[in-house]
């Protein structure tokens, strides 16, 4: 029912419309100049559109109908853990005692919030096998950066000058980027034929210049690092720290704990493993959990229990400082707390079901695609579109776009970088068997079409509100905001 392109806000604007009723001033009237010198008053007109409330509601409701989302369908975006986001968690986060609480409110009136932080830290410590947690990082990459800073502070105190961070070639781009932002030199280590980090190659670079190995486990191929204990020995053997990118934590909840695997520090993506909504690209939360030796360096403040009171501890002399304002994405933490409470010891079932779903989907798809590392996967797996590309010219991008016509979101494509024409597929544990089968059926049908009707694949999508979009022109001549010249094209 919603056809054609939608107007932009500016195209719905007309002088004199308004979509809210702001209050009038109720204090004695004084000339504005008595409050603000003229030089400080805005001169240029405020070019904000004027839209009535009904029209604004229609604008965003219509836009929402042009968005794919977990609540609408299967969303197998690998590495992103697009699981169901429980509604009860939304209700909890919107309670006025959480949503309307000022971060500088006196401790006496923040006891419930502080207790939630302390209890959540305790639960995450148990789940990870670590000792302490900071909630300040706003997302996974932010957690990575924080973790590396902790490691740096740790070595600095010990007087060790370590300048390098090892990153496997399969790692997510945020890993090397974080290392660089922390002033480290990045050393890349290749993967072996089983899709794990090449332990011999690792050994070769593991020396006293190395501050840390950033490992993802299960890694971005969806494979568990089978030689994790050897890796741990190599890294600790050279005096470095072992860091876990916990983006894939969903696969091992309750099965094996990073702390028990020998990791010194890790971040979690609460917006993946712990079901907090991705929000179209955030907010997330990337808490960092550490073993005791790194705890002194955690960002300040930290919520602590003091008898039956809770308080924020600011005075931690060895802290790295702050990596964002206040205490992190508290609203996200409330949701994660509710989520963990909803599973308790049953969290292990999350991992089991996630892994079962992934292996089932892999089994259904194996006939049609190349499987670069064919072993039981964890929560996700990689297929390669190489056969299709070679035989028909249809690329993984084409296949992804064609999937949209079947009513599905596409997998993550062209990641990890070490697999050609990669499709990284993660069904998550909240999907039904029926949904998984329907997706497999669609992807197999597309694989078929690559042969029988290549053109329809190469020019996909066809049933979406817009057809394939021109990314090249977008980047070459960036148009990044409305101007009166933003014509309604087409």
């Amino acid at each position: 029912m919603l056809r054609g392109q939608l107007p932009l806000l500016n195209e719905r604007s007309a002088r004199g419309r308004i979509g809210a009723s702001p209050p009038a001033s109720d204090v004695p009237d004084v000339p504005l100049e008595a409050i603000l010198p003229a030089a400080h008053v805005r001169g240029a007109p405020l070019d904000i559109p004027e839209v009535s409330e009904p029209d604004l509601v229609r604008h965003y409701t219509q836009l929402s109908h042009r968005n794919y989302a977990v609540d609408l369908g299967f969303y197998p975006l690998g590495s992103c853990t697009m699981k169901y986001n429980p509604k009860i968690n939304e209700d909890a986060a919107r309670l006025p005692g959480f949503a309307r609480l000022h971060p500088y409110a006196p401790e006496r009136m923040t006891q419930g919030a502080l207790r939630l932080l302390v209890d959540l830290e305790g639960m995450l410590a148990e789940i990870t096998g670590m000792q302490h947690v900071t909630f300040q990082p706003a997302a996974g990459a932010h957690g990575e950066l924080t973790a590396l800073m902790l490691i740096r502070a740790y070595f600095a105190e010990r007087g060790e000058r370590r300048t390098r961070v090892i990153v496997p070639d399969s790692a997510h781009g945020t890993n090397p980027a974080s290392a660089a932002m922390c002033g480290y030199e990045v050393v890349e280590v290749r993967s072996d034929t089983r899709g794990n980090i090449d332990v011999e190659a690792l050994r070769a670079v593991a020396d006293d210049r190395v501050a840390a190995l950033m490992l993802t486990n299960p890694n971005t191929l969806g494979l568990f690092e089978e030689r994790i204990t050897e890796i741990e020995e190599v890294i600790h053997g050279c005096g470095a720290q072992l860091y876990l990118d916990g983006a894939n934590f969903n696969a091992i909840l309750g099965i094996t704990r990073p702390g028990d695997q020998g990791f010194d520090v890790m971040h979690m993506n609460l917006h993946k493993t712990f079901s907090t909504p991705h929000g179209g690209g955030g907010p997330g939360a990337g808490p960092v959990a550490v073993k005791s030796h790194l705890a002194p360096y955690l960002p300040v403040p930290i919520a602590v229990r003091d008898g039956d009171r809770y308080r924020l501890e600011h005075d931690r002399p060895k802290t790295i400082g702050k990596i964002r304002s206040f205490y992190g994405n508290f609203g996200v933490l409330v949701r994660a707390y509710a989520y963990i409470r909803t599973y308790g010891p049953l969290l292990r079932q999350v991992a089991e079901a996630a892994v079962l779903n992934a292996n089932y989907l892999l089994a259904l798809l194996r006939p049609a695609f190349e499987v670069p590392y064919d072993r039981p996967c964890k929560h996700e797996f990689v297929l390669a579109g190489t056969r299709q590309k070679r035989e028909t010219g249809a690329t993984t991008k084409d296949i992804a776009k064609r999937l949209l016509d079947y009513g599905f979101h596409a997998p993550t494509v062209y990641f990890p970088l070490i697999v050609e024409e990669a499709m990284l597929i993660e069904p998550t544990e909240t999907e039904t068997r029926e949904a998984i089968e329907a997706f497999a059926e669609a992807l197999l049908a597309v694989a078929d079409e690559c042969r029988t009707n290549t053109e329809v694949v190469r020019t996909a999508p066809h049933t979406t509100v817009v057809s394939r979009l021109d990314e090249v022109t977008a980047a070459r001549r960036p148009d990044l905001h409305w101007s009166s010249g933003t014509a309604r094209t087409g």
């Binding site: 005692g97 179209g280 089994a363």
Partner: protein
């Protein structure tokens, strides 16, 4: 492995499980985990509290939330980086639609035009408000955005010193330090004088080595900086002017940073339609000049056309980003605060040109009234001279923390005791009056303080 307990979020039945295992060709789920060495297995159940029913869980959380004092039940005079503006109902009715909040980064643009258009509109609105040429789609928060702006300035100028006014939010300054510590950037403090950034001293500190001068407008004390001359001073040595904004609502009334010549605006978008949330999620803003766009961190959404020439929107200039450029990216940021940016856009559009201006003006008028009213109380005097927007500092006749404690007893959350961040301002109290504080509340605050004497 033990049989599963039925759970409302897991859709697999026992029959499903059996069928799937048969298809996979393994006898049990256990067999899918043989790659996990026995030595690192957890051989017991996780030691977590037992699972409550839905009703019990909500009761528990409601219980925790009610041990907090929310801004509906308390008249809140705290600002200092988190602002209690009124949020129209439509903002979260719309941003709270699950098509938005259960989606992720719009990698498949053709089925994500909703978010993408909304982000493009957010960028447009933010440019209009700040007077800048280009805005990204969001950063984590005001503090980290300011830190990223600092790094960006370093990269743009190839210089390694920044001058930061002490009238910038203390937490932003802390985060700037944390972010730059390992990048060889030297952060030089520019001490405020009587609540504003002294231009002469700025000139003294600025040099050919300076990448950026960082000030906040309105500043942490609520005061207005001499932006024109600060911009001049920075530009005179080839440094960039980075303006941190703690409450962009101000720019609906005040001359925006873009008009003053700012090169980068970094700041906090929370006040635009986002809840206080005990400090997060908030919304990092980052806007700059067109010429600097390829050094910007974060996501950018651009307009383009489809194969039939119809308008559409895509993520663009991604070669700046970590997933392509890895250690050479402009930043490591990936997940950001998209939903909060959406809320901010709806907020700005709902109020519109006239409404935003009115909100800003009512803030300024009420704050002005409050400052006048409170300064009449013996013992309370304005700490600084000069114009302010919606925050101001009072010197108090007794410890502001003690005053806050006593106000709390009558349902008022007082201001911020500045001694926490500025030891020399131990008797000073930073108060904020938004349009959400009524005259009646201001008068009640005044009467309570009077009665305290």
């Amino acid at each position: 492995m033990t049989p599963w307990t039925a759970h409302k979020y897991i859709s697999l039945t026992e029959a499903d499980r059996q069928h799937m295992l048969r298809t996979i060709g393994v006898p049990s789920v256990e067999d899918l985990f043989t790659d996990v060495p026995r030595s690192v297995r957890l051989l017991r159940a996780l030691d977590l509290p037992p699972v409550p029913s839905d009703a019990e869980l909500l009761r528990e959380l409601r219980g925790l939330s009610e041990r907090n004092g929310d801004a509906d039940r308390f008249a809140c005079f705290l600002g200092a980086g988190a602002y209690d503006h009124f949020i129209p109902s439509i903002v979260w009715h719309l941003a709270g639609r699950s098509e938005f909040y259960t989606a992720y980064t719009p990698y498949q643009a053709e089925i994500m035009q909703g978010e993408l258009q909304a982000a493009y509109e957010y960028q447009s609105l933010l440019c209009a408000l700040t007077g800048m040429e280009v805005s990204n789609a969001s950063m984590y928060d005001g503090a980290s955005a300011t830190a990223e702006a600092t790094v960006m300035a370093r990269d743009l100028t190839h210089r390694d010193e920044v001058v930061v006014s002490s009238a910038v939010h203390p937490e932003y300054r802390q985060v700037v330090r944390t972010y730059t510590r390992h990048l060889g950037v030297e952060v030089r403090d520019l001490l405020h004088q009587r609540g504003v950034t002294p231009v002469e001293m700025a000139r003294d500190l600025l040099s050919e080595r300076t990448a950026a001068l960082i000030v906040q407008q309105p500043n942490f004390f609520g005061g207005l900086e001499d932006m024109g001359r600060l911009a001049e001073a920075a530009h005179a040595v080839g440094a960039l002017l980075v303006v941190a904004a703690a409450d962009p609502v101000a720019y609906a009334l005040l001359k925006p940073p873009g008009e003053w010549g700012a090169d980068i605006v970094a700041g906090e978008g929370q006040p635009l339609g986002n809840h206080l949330n005990f400090g997060g999620p908030f919304l990092g803003m980052l806007a700059t000049r067109q010429a600097f766009v390829r050094r910007m961190p974060g996501r950018l959404v651009g307009r383009t056309v489809d194969t039939q020439g119809r308008r559409g929107f895509v993520l663009t200039l991604q070669t700046r980003e970590q997933h392509i450029r890895r250690e050479h990216a402009t930043s490591n940021i990936c997940t950001n605060e998209a939903l909060n940016a959406l809320a901010a856009a709806i907020y700005m559009a709902a109020l519109g040109r006239g409404g935003l201006r009115q909100v800003a003006e009512v803030c300024a008028r009420r704050a002005h009234y409050a400052m006048g009213r409170l300064a009449q109380i013996p013992g309370f005097t304005p700490a600084f001279e000069g114009p302010t927007f919606h925050e101001f500092v009072l010197r108090c006749p007794r410890d502001p923390e003690e005053i806050n404690g006593r106000l709390l007893d009558v349902g008022i959350v007082g201001g911020l005791a500045l001694g926490r961040f500025y030891p020399d301002l131990g008797d000073s109290w930073l108060l904020c009056v938004t349009e959400n504080r009524t005259r009646e509340e201001i008068d009640r605050l005044a009467r309570t303080l009077e009665a305290m004497r």
